[in-house]
């Protein structure tokens, strides 16, 4: 899939970063505001898909040599792992905890195991969506 479009390429360079930032923002906002793992993951993956659309697959693959299946697998592992993790601490499966930490830069921040869980969700979404799109478009 090779599209030679200078405007699109130029715009993409900036837009991809905006989308990526937005994705991360949505992901982190999820706790108290609209957002969360799914949406964050979807937005992130749309940024990647845009990259692959604009440049051809080989070029992007050189810059970002990730195996998205592994990313998806890592995500599932994180999501299931947080569940099993709570069992190791003697709690019920998938018990989540949260508490406040004083971090040097951010001040008093609330960190929760939900964040890990949601990260797993987001990674899976990114991995799966990009895998699907790439698989189809590579198979010509």
């Amino acid at each position: 899939m090779k599209i030679n479009d200078v405007i699109l390429r130029t715009v993409t360079k900036i837009v991809v970063f905006i989308i990526l930032t937005f994705g991360v923002e949505l992901f982190l906002a999820g706790h108290h505001n609209p957002g969360g793992g799914f949406i964050g993951g979807l937005v992130l993956s749309s940024a990647f898909v845009l990259l692959y659309l604009v440049h051809d697959i080989e070029t992007v693959q050189k810059g970002i040599p990730w195996d998205y299946k592994k990313i998806a697998a890592l995500g599932v592992f994180l999501a299931v792992g947080t569940g099993v993790g709570s069992v190791l601490f003697g709690a019920e499966f998938l018990t989540q905890t949260a508490s406040h930490f004083d971090l040097p830069v951010f001040g008093s921040t609330e960190l929760s195991t939900i964040l890990l869980f949601e990260a797993g969700v987001a990674l899976t979404v990114v991995g799966v969506v990009v895998t699907i799109i790439l698989s189809i478009s590579e198979d010509v």
């Binding site: 706790h31 998806a72 599932v76 799109i133 698989s135």
Partner: protein
């Protein structure tokens, strides 16, 4: 605690084996595997002194508390015996298999199955919870299936594997039903609790039914008549497997079950008769059939069937003691159970040794057919000695452990004549008679094993290769078993005191600490001792029968003998397959539309019919929220878009209309105060549309739908009916709020889950299980897409079947 871990160690090792095997693909992998049962055996053995003093160990891991299913392990005398057998014989069998299996075999697979079996078997004997026990029970059937079919390219292996699986698993399902009935009666899945409370329910009809179902499970597993037919076919497995699963451990799971449930059902006439008569008949039938076998392994299979029947019948007799509680009279019947436990141990030693001997003969001579064997004594002196020890012990001769348990068996059979319970009357006299006849046959086939193989004339021309003694490594394991056979004869009371006595306490909880439960085992009681006279009779008649074997062999060809249970099984299987094929062909037409028509018609009939019949229409529009003008517009846009999809000519238009629907749904989500949904919906809709377009690039354009007018009308009727029913149903549900909404609970999400976005706290915390599984589904779908595209079918894959 250790016991719980002990169950899981083999499973963990099984996970590790493939990795180690990949790294070190040689038979040395066996030494790693050997380490597992050996360690377990040693640790388990360290519990013997405290268990012998009456100690028990319970450990509970909470699992499905709400359903009363917890991972409770329980170590008492009974599970100790089985645990020691499983790990002890397991050690020896693995040691043996290291030398038995060649390097070309799929050793990794073999040891994975074997370890899986070991873990499952330990799970069966250590579980206190019936549901957990059931799971492990079926897991043993599955691993047995895999091991029998280890050489899966052979048709006979697959046949044997399927047969054993079908029979034992159907028995297992019956047992599950029995367990559930017991739970319904007593309200607990814990065996210990059932034992404690069952007394008040013995008059219930469910009690009898539960008993029969549990027995069905035990009989199928332990190959009791008429379910014994799977065991001879299971001999297709590699010999170490036969020695381990199909003589020492798995087939004894049924025995274990009977022993474990004797405190529950024992003392009932049905239990007494069912267990002892089935056992006794199996004893006779197995030994009678063993004599005619020419394949050594088949002979051993029938002999195992017979010996299992012997142990089973003893447990049946022993259960009589529980009728009416403890008294000086009733305690005498517990001797049968003691003999059963003793013979259980003895059988594992001598039968394990014999299986290994047969494996060695097979390995060295290349055949197990006794017609081709003979005169191996001078060529394989060590093997011969072990075979001699094993078979003489099985025949019940001194100075081997089989003699002791056989005498106790006769004694129990004689005592039972005096039982005046269960309207025994004169029937009791029949018990020792059958037992004696069966013992004669046992003597005959034991002699066949050792003498037809090792004595007589050596026939080198009928063998494929010159025979010589087995390598030393292969002889170690059977030698240890042979030494045990002799050792137990000389020190039987060691076993009696440390191993059997606590097991007796487990089988007879009401008799705890009673006098006379554990007899002093001795080999010599004087000439006037009736069992000894019976044994002498067995020897005399047995020798005569053995010598005249060729004259009465014709008995086996008499007509009724040909009509076999195997034929019945095969016929049944064939007929079932035929019938189900016809039935399936009838409604599984291969048209997707037909299947959907079934589903929708069913939906219309049941849900629609239900609505009409119960007349539960109740519309209540008073609670409706007000509608603004732009919402009307949105609704009509959606209806218009939806209906026009049906009529558009181009697929591109259709997909755009679908997107219209999707984005309109997203707009509704905004209207309905669901920002998360709106965001997700917009992105998903975009990606979906892109996917559709991507696929359209490769797919052909829409053709006109070629369908007859009547089909179209039927489709339309079904579609409209389904749509109408859904609408009416939804309106009715909204009109009748039967319950208060549970959603108020989630509004406390900040305190409960530390998040202010209620939707996300539900996803991430309250109902995280859904989300987790959803992620897994998503991942599977992604992998599915990937494999669908990347993995092309390899044309002309090799066909390994039916060699």
């Amino acid at each position: 605690m250790f016991i719980t871990i002990a169950i899981f160690i083999p499973f963990l090792a099984a996970i590790l084996v493939p990795f180690i095997y990949k790294w070190m693909p040689s038979r040395k992998i066996g030494w790693f595997v050997l380490f597992v049962p050996l360690t377990l055996f040693i640790i388990l053995a360290s519990f013997i002194p405290s268990v012998a003093k009456g100690g028990t160990y319970i450990h509970t891991m909470r699992w499905i508390d709400s359903a009363g299913i917890n991972f409770t392990t329980y170590l008492d005398g009974l599970s100790m015996i089985f645990g020691l057998l499983i790990t002890g014989v397991g050690t020896l069998v693995i040691l043996y298999s290291i030398y038995y299996l060649s390097e070309r075999e799929a050793l990794g697979r073999f040891y994975v199955y074997l370890l899986m079996f070991m873990g499952a078997m330990l799970g069966v004997v250590f579980s206190d919870n019936m549901m957990v026990l059931y799971v492990f029970w079926e897991l043993t059937s599955i691993s047995s299936f895999l091991l029998i079919a280890f050489w899966y390219h052979r048709k006979q292996s697959r046949y044997g594997a399927q047969k054993s699986m079908l029979i034992t698993v159907s028995g297992g399902v019956a047992m599950l039903a029995g367990f559930i009935m017991l739970q319904t009666l007593t309200g607990s899945f814990s065996v210990r609790e059932v034992i404690a409370t069952i007394g008040q329910y013995t008059d219930d009809t469910l009690f009898l039914l539960a008993m029969l179902l549990v027995l069905l499970g035990a009989f199928t597993k332990s190959a009791q008549f008429p379910f014994h037919i799977w065991l001879p076919d299971a001999m297709e497995a590699p010999t170490p497997v036969s020695a381990y699963l199909h003589s020492a451990t798995m087939v004894k799971a049924g025995i274990y079950l009977v022993a474990r449930f004797t405190p529950v059902f024992g003392g009932e006439a049905v239990w007494f008769y069912a267990v002892s008569c089935v056992g006794l008949f199996t004893l006779f039938w197995g030994s009678f059939n063993a004599v005619k076998q020419t394949d050594l392994k088949a002979l051993l299979a029938y002999s195992t069937v017979s010996q299992l029947g012997l142990i089973m019948s003893l447990f049946g007799l022993g259960s009589a003691a529980l009728n009416g509680g403890y008294s000086a009279d009733s305690v005498i019947y517990t001797q049968a159970t003691f003999a059963a436990l003793f013979h259980l141990v003895n059988h594992s030693t001598f039968k394990g040794a014999l299986f290994m001997v047969v494996g060695i003969v097979d390995h060295e001579a290349g055949t197990r057919d006794i017609r081709r064997l003979g005169g191996l004594m001078s060529l394989m002196p060590v093997t011969f000695t072990i075979a001699l020890i094993g078979s003489f012990s099985m025949a019940g001769l001194p100075p081997f452990n089989g003699f002791l348990s056989k005498e106790m068996f006769f004694e129990s059979m004689l005592i039972i004549r005096e039982l005046d319970l269960f309207s025994m009357g004169s029937w009791g006299a029949l018990f020792p008679v059958i037992a004696w006849i069966a013992s004669v046959f046992t003597f005959v086939y034991s002699m066949i094993i050792v003498f037809k193989t090792f004595l007589g004339e050596h026939q080198p021309d009928r063998l494929d290769r010159p025979v010589h003694e087995a390598p030393i490594g292969m002889l170690i394991a059977p030698s240890i078993l042979g030494l045990l056979v002799v050792g137990i004869f000389f020190f039987p009371n060691m076993v009696g005191h440390y191993v059997l006595q606590p097991a007796m306490a487990a089988v007879y909880p009401p008799f705890a600490g009673a006098e006379g439960m554990v007899p002093h085992i001795s080999a010599w009681h004087g000439f006037n001792y009736a069992p000894l006279q019976l044994t002498l009779g067995v020897i005399v008649v047995g020798v005569l029968l053995y010598l005249s074997l060729r004259y009465w062999r014709g008995v086996y060809t008499i007509a009724p003998m040909r009509w076999s249970l195997d034929g019945l099984y095969n016929g049944l299987l064939l007929q079932t397959e035929r019938f189900t094929t016809v039935l399936t062909r009838f409604y599984m037409t291969g048209h997707l539309r037909d299947y959907l028509v079934y589903i929708f018609t069913f939906f219309i009939l049941v849900v629609g019919g239900g609505l009409v019949l119960t007349g539960s229409f109740a519309f209540d529009f008073s609670n409706d929220a007000p509608i603004t003008i732009n919402e009307y517009v949105l609704v009509f846009v959606m209806i218009g878009a939806g209906i026009s999809i049906l009529f558009v000519k181009s697929r591109m238009t259709a997909i755009i209309l679908n997107s219209v629907l999707g984005y309109a749904v997203a707009l509704f989500f905004i209207v309905f105060r669901a920002p998360d949904l709106a965001l997700t919906q917009i992105i998903v809709e975009t990606v979906t549309t892109a996917l559709f377009l991507l696929c359209f690039y490769f797919l052909p354009d829409w053709k006109r739908e070629i369908a007859s007018r009547s089909t179209k009308i039927i489709n339309a009727v079904i579609a409209i009916a389904v749509g109408a029913i859904v609408t009416i149903l939804a309106l009715t549900v909204q009109g009748n709020k039967l319950f208060e909404s549970i959603s108020v609970y989630f509004e406390d999400s900040y305190a409960l889950a530390g998040g202010k976005n209620i939707v996300n706290t539900i996803l991430g915390d309250f109902r995280a299980f859904d989300t987790m599984l959803e992620v897994v589904v998503l991942f599977i779908a992604g992998l599915g897409v990937f494999t669908l595209i990347k993995l092309k079918a390899r044309k002309g894959g090799q066909d390994v079947e039916d060699q």
